[in-house]
Symmetry: C2
Subunit: 404 residues, 2 copies
């Protein structure tokens, strides 16, 4: 039988990352490809405790259906935490629990995007946000972005010249894929610009708590006077991703729409997961846990940056993230990182080619390096192997250009 699928999925392709991840499951592969937190840091013992307690104290409730909005004590904690970190003034009624932050992206698309609407994003931006939004038939405009965030003049001019802009999507802290952090001025500028044009900002912040040095900067939300910033967050990077618990925070008028949409999409999040995380937050210090994660990731960040400084050939540049999980590498313009990856896989080392992080521009001379999921000695060895391949490629291009 010939199947007639919906138009929206005709151009859908498998996530490049997920396909590469399948290859990198072989233990001999040194992988900078995933975005996986370090599993050796998961608080397994504590989770065993809280799971037992939740089932003993309240088993029937934990295994039953619950509300779409989510478990109130957990929503209260998230509201308080968001207020502390991001200068908002949310109550639990401003929070909807989502099945991971990815679901918050999908719901955002469903709540806001009509076919033909435009989403403004950083260039590059998070791959899986592109695919979540694209399913609703939107187009993307990449706003030229430097080390401090979107460039104000470019943003202004795009806002003036573009019809149907519905959302501005940004990851201001330790961005995926670049690891970059927006300056305070640019954050304020973004809110001013969005306010002038009456456009919603999605501030996606999965990594903000993982700052290795310096002070936490005021969030984009903190400059919001009119309720146009919606905040996305998740327990995936500060606790465990297997739980699939994230959230969306915003004005009640907006959150009520997200709740309606989530009803039709999957009714509610896993009840046990919500109650277990709430119990963990009640009995243990997540700050201490996050501090352990930061120590480990900082060592890995130091290691990967030092290795790239020492090993990468001339003409290759890279970011030095102050937090998060990722660094970003730019190769000479004529080197295609997909070709580099092919060679690297032969040497059992992997990364994600950067092209897919550009919704339109497809700049293939870029790569994303994840440093959170590997011991230091493998990081050093992996960067050495990538450097060998890069040298070959750059040498070959040089020879070719000399031969011209």
């Amino acid at each position: 039988m010939e199947y007639k699928f919906a138009k929206r999925i005709q151009n859908l392709r498998a996530s490049e990352i997920r396909e590469i991840l399948k290859v990198t499951e072989r233990p001999e592969v040194i992988s900078f490809a995933g975005g996986l937190p370090a599993p050796e840091l998961f608080p397994v013992k504590e989770i065993k405790d809280v799971t037992r307690l939740v089932l003993e104290e309240n088993g029937a409730k934990a295994l039953q259906y619950t509300t779409t909005e989510g478990y109130t004590p957990l929503r209260e904690w998230i509201a308080d935490r968001t207020n502390k970190n991001m200068g908002s003034s949310f109550g639990y009624e401003n929070i909807l629990l989502t099945h991971g932050s990815q679901q918050a992206l999908d719901l955002t698309g469903k709540v806001f995007l009509d076919e033909g609407d435009v989403v403004l994003c950083e260039s590059p931006t998070y791959l899986a946000a592109i695919s979540a939004f694209k399913a609703y038939g939107c187009r993307f405009k990449e706003v030229p972005t430097d080390n401090d965030g979107m460039i104000p003049d470019e943003l202004e001019s795009i806002l003036y010249s573009t019809q149907n802009v519905k959302l501005i999507y940004v990851i201001p802290d330790f961005q995926n894929p670049t690891g970059r952090t927006w300056s305070v001025e640019r954050r304020e500028m973004l809110v001013q610009a969005a306010m002038k044009h009456n456009i919603i900002i999605i501030e996606d912040n999965p990594y903000g708590e993982l700052r290795f040095e310096g002070e936490m900067l005021p969030s984009v939300k903190s400059f919001d006077k009119t309720g146009l910033v919606i905040c996305l967050g998740t327990f995936s990077k500060i606790f465990c991703p297997g739980y699939r618990i994230g959230w969306v925070a915003g004005e009640e008028k907006i959150i009520s729409k997200y709740i309606l949409v989530k009803q039709g999409v999957d009714l509610q999040c896993n009840t046990m997961a919500q109650m277990e995380i709430a119990k963990y937050l009640e009995l243990y210090s997540i700050d201490k846990h996050i501090s352990n994660i930061k120590k480990a990731y900082k060592r890995r960040r130091d290691t990967v940056v030092k290795a790239m400084e020492e090993e990468f050939p001339e003409g290759v540049t890279f970011t030095r993230p102050e937090g998060g999980l990722f660094a970003w590498v730019e190769l000479p313009p004529d080197v295609d990182s997909r070709d580099v990856l092919q060679k690297c896989l032969e040497k059992n080392v992997a990364f994600v080619p950067g092209g897919a992080f550009f919704p339109n521009e497809n700049r293939q001379n870029t790569m994303r390096i994840n440093f959170s999921n590997m011991p230091e000695e493998r990081i050093v060895e992996g960067i050495k192997r990538i450097s060998d391949v890069l040298r070959e490629f750059i040498h070959a291009k040089l020879q070719a250009s000399l031969g011209d």
Copy 2:
């Protein structure tokens, strides 16, 4: 700020059931309104065991990201079970785990439905399927349905006269909301008709294992020679709904599209939930557990049917389901069950008015009665209270008509 939401959500309303459920949380209310399994039957002790084991044996893996497809041992179990129950020949590669059966409905909409497509459904049909599909801009055609399923001539004539039919959605076993079960002949007829017109059938089967008497009938899938039937299932009614683990089973060519869509929607299901259920299935007998559920629900079904037979006034008819969680009541044509509900809530008894289960016809003289979630004495008392209200209404209508 005035928010500009997507067109698709402008007509979205809160699920009537979820709104009623909020009222019925008060312990003094006897509620036939939910679709909740009996929490006192949840295997809490066994789940405590398997949770501990999963975390001890494989904690880091259980808390980490996993594949979109889901945990292979669980997919294998589901494939085997589906083959046994439904006469299919699936392997694990035909199974995608979903965040509850509700997500399987949403993904179905996303994979198949373009704006203006038509979904054929029973009349009445499952409320939350209507809202899941409607979000993709489809229209519904209700196929006239009797106690044996869709009426063949009516189905044929709709198929011949309707453009853009994309899906036929059915719940052949102990349907929600009616509790009805399709005859074998109608099942075969449905596949023949769908084959002739090259249309996908969605066979939603959350209750099939909960048969109180008689033999399990051959599934719709069992008549499928060309891969046009997609099967939806869930652990919510045979295990615990809090886990949010359901599945979709079908041809690999179809399932690969569902997987792509799920990647963008929420990456994957809760990893722990998948591994815990798999461990439970390995260590305990789910058949024994299901047999306990069936015993309890059968008693409640017997109780509710007997009470309705004894108490309901003349002119009120109802179904006598052979399994599942629901019975369906039809009132005289001029009685609106929403008015009845208002009066019933004053007497602390609740049910779901049936109108919302008709995507177009909106027949308001109907009501859905859930019998799985209450002890027998409360069922008897609740039906008595509803009967009192019904008598008042029917008496008043009679008086009014005599007065004409």
